[in-house]
Symmetry: C2
Subunit: 477 residues, 2 copies
């Protein structure tokens, strides 16, 4: 294998066998059990071995006392050992014919401690000398649903087309879990940590050639080779939609990044320019990243910026129009003849038939709502439709399942049923008594192929980012 | 009573009797039942009458066929009748000796229909001639927990010090319900709609002299007398902290506002200047309004901008530091001697002892966490402490109640226990199985007197707004 051939990394995503070395035999619920739990949950169907000098058994699986004691061959190791013995583990891996080690272990250069910085260099050096590839240290490694490899038992088992390269384990988990709840599915996810061997550049080269991935999310704290980074990004943006969340854009954030993955953060202006030049969607926080992944996955690209907003509440209508227009989207007024069409079957008091269309008083009239949606979405001035339900403004406590079911019947048109793309804003509730009903509503949206957002601002923001990207794309790609 | 004497409105908040005129006898769950349900829930303890020409009974309460038929006197009427008979109802109220009518009824100037604009003028004219005050039309009226008057059964029964003047009913409900979930309590709330008689200026004059209110939230779509508005705002900002959400700041939003409360929106620059000059906290959406109300209610004003951030996750630490610093707050690095104090009892691997302090690996060590919190919050470089728990990044599904209880024991210090003010970021979950445990955590924070936020960005944003206001106050007030 070679550093310059991206496909050289393909084997990482399809290990023929895995050994978890350093898993704790004592406690269940210990962090080292995460990987075992995940492989069990994913029904990993190739050989899996546990290693701990104490031997014994964990959850019915034999624990080998050393890598050497394993009867079969071992392709891929997840290293959970103490940092100080990491280089020694690589030596043992070499003797066993292991091709790659993912070190979850932390306590290396990210501590800032001189001895530990040296330890990481030593680890990289041993690996290079022995021809073993290293992911990490200080990271969560690989999630590849197709090959039943995961670092969280909570990730979806089915695969999709979104790839993630993330320097942070926690942030990669956040992105996968939160986007998955809204229907997004993934091809391959790599949490790569301190990057003492395999780094963002090599991973980008890999993903540039990965036909399973069409959308690529990056969480980067810092890079080591800027010129090569730019070059591989240029390559990957030719065939994928790339979204970047840069951690450490402030002094405090950069200091935190140094302590997290020993990354040198780089200036904000440099990153801004890079994204602009390469047509990369730049997001400013992780919630925004998830919103953009949802948008790219479920909203057919609207032909323009004219939003038709449709929902409940006069005050809410004013605020959602402000959110959309303040982000460069347009909320065009409905012409008189369209309003007249709706007024034929809709009372004027309590319904505001402009844009937004406030259908407050007619919630008891599903037929009228569907007719109105058909009319406004068919109007030539409409480029996309956003239906909004802000539960926090309701007079009564308790959004009951029956109510959400009735919304669903009225509103949750399947993506493609209306002449324009449809998005949904469905505000969650922190109250347990309401959470279940709203969760059913979210699942309904996902099943109908709709992007679902949790606030006016996040919907407007994500749709604007994706539209801007689509509109600039011909010029940059 | 007089338009120029603010205390002339005091009686609105303490009606000696209420009649609900035009309540529907047919359906329960109809919107006209909202007020009955609310008064029942609040155990309104003065005479309450229902009026509908059909007579009969609703929920055990006799329905009178007309206002005239009511045996006792009627002080205050909630008008739920059709818009067209509203002026006639005012005449009947005059004959009965009613002092004020709140018209929930819509279908007036907000429709843009010439006849209905005229109808609203007629309504105002009749009221003026007969010496009856009108709230609305097209609004939710009054919430005053002290006098057991409410327009939502879901509002808190106990009172506090936050007042609201809101042109929108739905937005006032949103503010009360969402802020109440996080512990905020209210003195008096008025949803005043089209303001054909009592307007924002008169209400501001009232609140300027209301000693029950120390914090005043405004949701305004448009004003009719700008000069007077400025004058009364000047007055009210002398004794209250005022927060403004201006609806209709964009062209589309202004059009929606015209259709909602017939308001003329005014330019964004004018509103910006007004807020700057008078030391009003300007918020840009309703979620931000709630965050600021929570902050003002629960965070003792920090002496400065230095945030000590303390939580779980390296990637989360980077992102929260970025959010705080990008909003003008500072995340100072911990000096070596403070780090050394913590390292005496804390493993270096898996814990990042800088600022943010990432205590990922030590969650099993409550004692260490409390000692660390004591040390970092006692450091002279710290002005306030923010503890963060981002549940969305956890490897395992299911934030169980036991886990939240253990966080509570470790982290939820009572406000005042640590040498600096403490705020909490506790991310909710949309998954029903997690919502209950997190809800318990939110309630724990509220009981401990902590402001609780749902994202890094919202915490940073609200704390910055409140700090900026506090720092500018001496110059403007």
């Amino acid at each position: 294998m070679s550093n310059t051939h991206p496909h050289g990394l393909e084997f990482l995503f399809h290990p023929s066998s895995i050994a978890l070395v350093g898993i704790t035999t004592a406690e269940t619920g210990h962090w080292t059990h995460t990987f075992l739990d995940s492989l069990i949950e994913f029904e990993f169907d190739r050989p899996m071995y546990l290693v701990n000098p104490k031997g014994g058994e964990i959850k019915g699986h034999k624990v080998h006392r050393s890598l050497r004691d394993i009867p079969g061959t071992v392709d891929y190791v997840i290293g959970l050992v103490n940092a100080h013995i990491a280089p020694q583990l690589v030596e043992e891996c070499a003797q066993k014919g292991v091709r790659a080690v993912h070190f979850c272990t932390s306590g290396f250069s990210e501590t800032g401690d001189e001895q530990r910085v040296k330890l990481e260099s030593e680890l990289a050096e041993v690996a290079r000398r022995r021809g073993i590839r290293i992911i990490g240290p200080n990271c969560m490694g690989i999630y590849c649903p197709e090959s039943r490899v995961s670092f969280s038992p909570a990730f979806p088992r089915d695969k999709g087309h979104v790839g993630i390269i993330s320097q942070s384990g926690g942030n990669s988990i956040y992105m996968v879990r939160q986007a998955a709840l809204r229907g997004v599915r993934f091809s391959k996810v790599v949490s790569y940590g301190n990057a003492c061997d395999i780094d963002e550049n090599e991973l980008l080269e890999y993903f540039a050639q990965d036909t399973d991935t069409t959308i690529l999310a990056l969480y980067i704290e810092g890079i080591k080779d800027g010129q090569r980074f730019r070059k591989v990004l240029e390559e990957v943006t030719k065939s994928k939609t790339v979204i970047l969340l840069k951690g450490g854009t402030t002094e405090g954030g950069a200091r935190a990044a140094a302590g997290h993955t020993a990354a040198l953060a780089g200036s904000r202006a440099t990153w801004d320019a890079l994204c602009r030049q390469l047509g990369i969607i730049r997001v400013s926080n992780i919630e925004e990243m998830v919103d953009v992944l949802v948008t790219l996955s479920f909203l057919p690209i609207p032909r323009g910026r004219n939003a038709m907003l449709f929902g409940i509440g006069g005050g809410a209508s004013v605020l959602i129009a402000d959110e959309f227009e303040s982000r460069g989207l347009t909320v065009p007024g409905l012409p008189g003849e369209i309003m007249a069409q709706i007024q034929e079957f809709t009372p004027v008091a309590g319904n505001i038939l402009r844009n937004p269309v406030d259908y407050s008083q007619a919630m008891m009239n599903p037929d009228g709502i569907r007719r109105t949606l058909d009319i406004v979405s068919g109007w030539e001035g409409t480029d996309f439709v956003v239906v909004f339900i802000r539960t926090g403004q309701f007079v009564h406590r308790g959004v009951v399942p029956a109510r959400v079911a009735s919304w669903a019947a009225m509103l949750f048109a399947k993506q493609g049923d209306l002449p324009r793309p449809v998005a949904m804003v469905l505000e969650p509730s922190i109250m347990p008594e309401e959470a279940e009903a709203i969760w059913a509503g979210i699942l309904g949206c996902v099943a109908a192929g709709l992007p679902v957002y949790f606030s006016f601002a996040s919907a407007a923001n994500a749709i604007n980012l994706v539209l801007t990207h689509a509109q600039n794309r011909p010029a940059t790609a």
